[in-house]
């Protein structure tokens, strides 16, 4: 086990905490798994390109609940207005504002656990915990306590729920573990907008697991926008299970962070379900952003799309891994994967790998992954009309990433995000 994993294991509380028997048992499972396997290493195939050395060098320690968060740190303006807003500071629910729509229930996870909310146990116990690559999830389960439960009642529209994430800068670097549970009953709808931003000089890492359960014909739009500071770590896992005819639309924007890893996984359990995953990552400096997206088609007539665009400059490193598995019986599935990248500097690195496994009949599948440079013909065309070289390149790079923000259902939000991307757009070197 790495020094970091040994330290974090030592930081784990000796006993399984308070609460109901099943919760303590669950924490125990996580703790046992973590003590046995520790954190993922580059020997794990899924972590081949991402080493955790920076976290170890930063002397990362497990956060304990003894230091409650004080004042919320200053956030740049929210991306959009939302009916209901949550402020998550240091991994804990600090503040709620606005009025939830009828049908929308938001509880702190601790509250939800003590009330033993219907469906929560099944959801929490369903998180797959396989090999040594799942160390962060195990740690998250071992410390299960902080977080939120979002529940949308059958046939209701929860509107837009915004979660603002940040951590406070301190002397030491802390690892915060948080769980977000989203339950959409049949025919329920929700737009979940997550914004991550921490003050400069911050060297904390958040380890967040989000589990979403979409009932029949439910519709979840999930927008995740992170502009973390350069020293911040963000390790997240999103697990979505989808019943018949449900729809999950994910839009991820990585504009910041030092070490960023996101495992995005949708499982289509019912027929006719649709998973539409898209994202853009714009990296400069020494940032390291590793995205793994995977869709498992387990029922017939499903549709999935993975549409990701990336730009890397400086000595940044981007990893994008997209996988689709069409399981036996998932006939007449349509699965599309597209990942295109632009390298703006010779020292930047982009690793992209599409994977496709098909064990069913009458499947339509397409995939493509490219890493290239800007179209020089287009650069010249723009310059010949008066834009200088930098403006021309910036316009083209933004346009490239705009193909993701243009997919948002709310064009106004798409415009705001595209402007934010333009503001941070890495320059060519």
């Amino acid at each position: 086990m790495s020094r970091l994993a040994t330290q974090l294991a030592a930081d784990l509380p000796g006993e399984s905490g308070s609460g109901l028997q099943w919760i303590r048992a669950l924490r125990d499972t996580g703790a046992r798994h973590f003590r046995k396997h520790g954190l993922p290493t580059r020997k794990d195939e899924a972590w081949k390109y991402t080493a955790l050395g920076v976290l170890e060098q930063g002397g990362l320690r497990l956060a304990t609940k003894t230091e409650p968060p004080s004042t919320p740190s200053s956030h740049s303006p929210p991306l959009a207005q939302a009916g209901f807003n949550l402020t998550m500071l240091d991994g804990q629910l600090l503040q709620q504002s606005g009025t939830p729509r009828a049908g929308l229930t938001v509880l702190s996870l601790a509250d939800a656990l003590s009330k033993d909310i219907n469906g929560l146990q099944v959801l929490l116990e369903s998180l797959p915990q396989g090999n040594s690559g799942d160390g962060f999830s195990a740690l998250n389960t071992a410390t299960l306590d902080s977080g939120v439960l979002v529940h949308v009642a059958a046939g209701t529209d929860g509107g837009r729920l915004m979660i603002n994430w940040s951590t406070q800068a301190r002397e030491k670097s802390l690892l915060f573990n948080t769980r977000v549970c989203v339950i959409l009953e049949p025919d329920a709808r929700l737009e979940l907008l997550e914004q991550f931003e921490s003050p400069q000089g911050n060297s904390n890492t958040c380890n967040i697991v989000l589990q979403a359960d979409l009932g029949e014909n439910a519709d979840l739009q999930h927008i995740r926008f992170q502009q973390e500071s350069e020293g911040a770590g963000l390790i997240t896992r999103t697990e979505v299970s989808q019943q018949t005819d449900s729809e999950y639309a994910y839009f991820g924007f990585d504009l910041g962070g030092g070490l960023v890893r996101h495992d995005l996984h949708a499982t289509l359990l019912g027929s006719g379900a649709k998973s539409d995953l898209s994202g853009a990552y714009l990296l400069d400096g020494k940032r390291h952003v590793d995205n793994h997206a995977r869709v498992d088609h387990q029922a017939a007539g499903g549709f999935s799309e993975q549409f990701f665009r990336g730009v890397a400059s400086g000595s940044a490193k981007a990893i994008f891994n997209t996988a689709v598995c069409v399981h036996p019986g998932a006939d007449e599935t349509e699965a599309r994967q597209s990942n295109a990248n632009i390298l703006l500097s010779a020292k930047a690195e982009i690793n992209t790998k599409p994977e496709l496994e098909i064990y069913a009949d009458e499947v339509i599948a397409s995939h493509g992954a490219t890493v290239g440079q800007l179209d020089e013909q287009a650069v010249f065309y723009l310059r010949s009309r008066g834009l200088n070289e930098q403006e021309a390149r910036q316009l083209l790079t933004t346009a490239f990433c705009r193909s993701v923000s243009d997919r948002l259902r709310d064009p106004q939000l798409g415009e705001v995000i595209s402007q934010r991307m333009m503001d941070v757009m890495p320059q060519a070197e």
């Binding site: 020089e376 013909q377 065309y381 310059r383 010949s384 008066g386 200088n388 083209l396």
Partner: protein, 263 residues
């Protein structure tokens, strides 16, 4: 306004322009004709400053400035506009947004006020009306999925908005239907003024029926081999280029342009 003297240029290591000289006075329109591969587009690209076109000899003076020393965007800001023979498609970049950014970049360079979106829209509407074209292309990405004729129309529309002092039209009339041809002619004629100059590269007389050029040049094998009045185009249409081959450099009618002999 434009004086090209003994211009030699190479593309991919091959000499394409071999001592081309041309003088264009303010207020004039010159047509350049000539066989495929002669170097007409190369001349346009050299004037616009495209990378990969290496000038090995000669000079180009534009309004007193050494044009070849300027960056492509500086040339544009100085008033040079090239309507491309094959305009590129730029997915994701909105046509209107791009054109406004370009116009404002040029205005900024010239120390003029930046146009806000309202002012820009007014200008755009006015130009659309003059050119008798619809606004459906404006909302799309630059040239993306445009038909051949739509791309050419878009070039003319850009020219109308940017109002360059030197416009070079590279086969803007090729592949156009009759209405679009009128749009191009209208665009050129509207821009025609005593302090602007234009070079129209074409293979056909039909555009020249609408835009009567002051001079017609024949470019063959990297040089101007013949120069004449508007009637030269008619003769070329009837007889092709073969008759020029034996004669070498010819000067027809009363031609003020001096030809530099090929060394």
């Amino acid at each position: 306004m434009l004086r090209i003297t003994n211009l030699h240029a190479r593309v991919a290591g091959k000499e394409i322009l071999k001592g081309l000289s041309l003088e264009l006075k303010a207020g004039e329109i010159h047509a350049i004709m000539g066989p495929n591969g002669a170097g007409k587009s190369t001349l346009g690209n050299v004037l616009a400053g495209r990378e990969g076109y290496e000038v090995t000899d000669g000079e180009v003076i534009f309004n007193g400035k050494n044009l070849l020393e300027l960056e492509p965007e500086e040339r544009a800001c100085e008033g040079v506009f090239l309507a491309f023979q094959y305009p590129v498609e730029i997915p994701g970049v909105n046509n209107t947004y791009f054109l406004r950014a370009a116009l404002n970049a040029q205005r900024k360079y010239r120390g003029e006020e930046i146009l806000d979106s309202v002012g820009f829209l007014r200008l755009v509407r006015e130009k659309l009306k003059i050119l008798n074209i619809g606004d459906e292309l404006l909302h799309r990405a630059v040239n993306e999925g445009f038909s051949g004729g739509e791309k050419k129309r878009n070039e003319i529309f850009q020219m109308a908005v940017l109002e360059p002092s030197l416009a070079i039209l590279d086969e803007t009339d090729s592949g156009l239907d009759i209405d679009a041809l009128k749009t191009v002619a209208e665009g050129v004629n509207r821009l025609r003024s005593k302090d602007r100059g234009m070079i129209v590269v074409t293979h056909y007389q039909r555009l020249l029926d609408h835009i009567v050029p002051d001079r017609v040049h024949v470019l063959a094998d990297g040089q101007l081999v013949a120069t004449g009045g508007a009637d030269l185009a008619l003769k070329l249409e009837e007889q092709g280029y073969a008759w020029l081959e034996d004669g070498g450099i010819q000067t027809l009618n009363t031609d003020p342009v001096k030809q530099t002999a090929n060394p």
